[in-house]
Symmetry: C2
Subunit: 332 residues, 2 copies
């Protein structure tokens, strides 16, 4: 599987993107770096003895603060858009970018298009749990949604967890401000009955706390709520590790015990680290497209490339298409 990587995407591009791509190439992945060739080649020279990596030149760069749709329209030769074309034209089997996520979505829509019947593709995110993980969709592609969008996120999320993680009838929760059916904003109140009659394994409304307890495999929400949740989860992790660090430093005998425990605490923290969990899949698009965190380091890039390769190998898109067609047929 050949993975097109947006070399200019992310807060620390191209340096960390190239570094992550080199690691992936060393792992045996077939990577194509798309971006400003001179800059990318300069970065590649920093990695002596690395396998040769193909570079496809693209002269423009879409910045994090660019308006997604207009940037994609205007910067046709940006790395972000050119990589997507490479996937479309068969020059790659999957795509990864840690760049402007709105622009990745817009480019995916323009260049690859939606799976038939999908109104609004979503970005899926994973929160690792004590035992397993929860797939949250949408985490940012669609800040404003309607109930039908959320129904489709549930259908696509279920298919993703079935085919990528091998779950049978994944449990679907609807993120709300209370477990009771009467709780919710206007969107949640309108979505609840659709999920109830969807044929999915819908367990009802879930609160923030239920999500982290793993009561559902897929947590459905609009992209605004999902994005706030995912970033708050990161922030809480950071806050707690800092509080623990502070506690350890407060007394000499804590410091000693803390030194012994350090590797254990580090591995606990790593369990929740987004950089360990690859990119976020764009679900509902005709192609395996993965978006990395803007703040991605090289490990995050490497894991994003791995996730994209896995999805391409597993035929994710055709499986999503089949699932949605089945759901559609059931409602007709």
């Amino acid at each position: 599987m050949r993975i097109a990587v947006d070399a200019m995407g992310g807060d620390h591009a191209p340096a960390v993107v190239v570094e992550g791509a080199v690691q992936a190439a060393r792992d045996g992945h077939n990577v194509v770096l798309v971006g400003r060739e001179p800059d990318v080649r300069t970065e590649l020279t920093r990695h002596a003895g690395a396998p040769a990596i193909e570079v496809v030149h693209a002269s423009e760069v879409i910045e994090m603060h660019d308006h997604p749709v207009s940037a994609v329209r205007q910067k046709k030769d940006s790395s972000l858009v050119a990589g997507m074309r490479l996937l479309k034209e068969g020059g790659a089997d999957a795509y990864f970018s840690a760049g402007n996520s709105g622009a990745v979505m817009a480019a995916a829509l323009f260049v690859l298009g939606r799976i038939e019947g999908v109104h609004r593709p979503a970005i899926g995110g994973v929160i690792p749990l004590l035992d397993g993980r929860v797939f949250v969709a949408d985490i940012g592609a669609n800040p404003d949604c309607d109930a039908h969008n959320l129904l489709q996120f549930a259908q696509m999320g279920a298919a993703y967890m079935e085919h990528v993680y091998g779950l049978t009838r994944p449990k679907i929760g609807l993120v709300s401000n209370g477990e009771e059916e009467s709780k919710g904003n206007a969107l949640v109140l309108a979505t609840h009955p659709l999920l109830k009659s969807s044929g999915l394994n819908f367990i009802g409304n879930v609160e923030g706390k239920d999500v982290t307890r793993g009561v559902c495999d897929v947590a459905v929400c609009d992209g605004f709520t999902g994005n706030v949740m995912l970033k708050l989860a990161e922030g809480m992790q950071e806050l707690m590790l800092n509080l623990i660090r502070q506690a350890i430093m407060s007394k000499p005998h804590y410091k000693l015990a803390g030194a012994v425990l350090k590797p254990g605490l580090r591995s606990a923290g790593k369990r929740l680290d987004y950089t360990e969990h690859g990119g976020a899949p764009l679900i509902g698009i005709r192609g395996p497209v993965f978006i990395g965190h803007g703040r991605s380091n090289a490990t995050a890039i490497l894991n994003g490339i791995r996730a994209a390769a896995r999805a391409a190998e597993g035929g994710l898109v055709s499986k999503l298409e089949a699932s949605l067609a089945k759901a559609e047929a059931a409602t007709v």
Copy 2:
């Protein structure tokens, strides 16, 4: 200061409410328990040697799953509503309930009414941070809001942090799915310019991660988003403590070090524990009304009563009125 306490409100009422009220009375607080007198008296007999606590009988109970507005209309003699009347009629100076938060809001609106100029009162919540805290509003009263509502939450939140925590020109952040001004759902995009020209110390959009880093003193959002955030913060805390526990149990020498560190880790966890931080103020209502977590234990009830007493002593309501009148005058 005399605090009216809804004895029947919360998942573990009346037992833990009475227990918390007894603790408050032992601390010298003047508490009035409102609820089914026989049940409340039975609970009171479990606390031998407790100071005498006045009980005001109310025959009905509003349940957690009751529809807020119709419950308040129909159950006029519920503890939740009767306690609010006691405050209105001068029989109490502040009010606390761990019951159905929507019903507390509805009762506060019907019985006490809004501060002049306030369109939608909000519930404020506190997330404790490494250094200080952030006040989040709304955390659940208004699942659907408009931009003007959010502007007022910012004004009231600023006044709250000024008068209860002594901050000067509190920093206001607008919760969004990105720091850039161009990011947000329709509500956030409409609110941003209002906050910019409000005269408040508005620092711009804040992501979930910024909130826990303490970049702002007041995080403004609709009640749906705020509720999901607060409960996810709780859930992440629980998840991380479980992960750490798992790490500690994984190796014999970790277990030893863990035993030494236990009190330190416990105090770190306690820093984030909602039961330590009192109830959530209902801001924008003509009276100091505090709502406790439905899952409140006796300590949470005690701290809620303390917070209500502090607010009443500080003249919170008249200070909010003055702040809002000033904001109003500035925009005319």
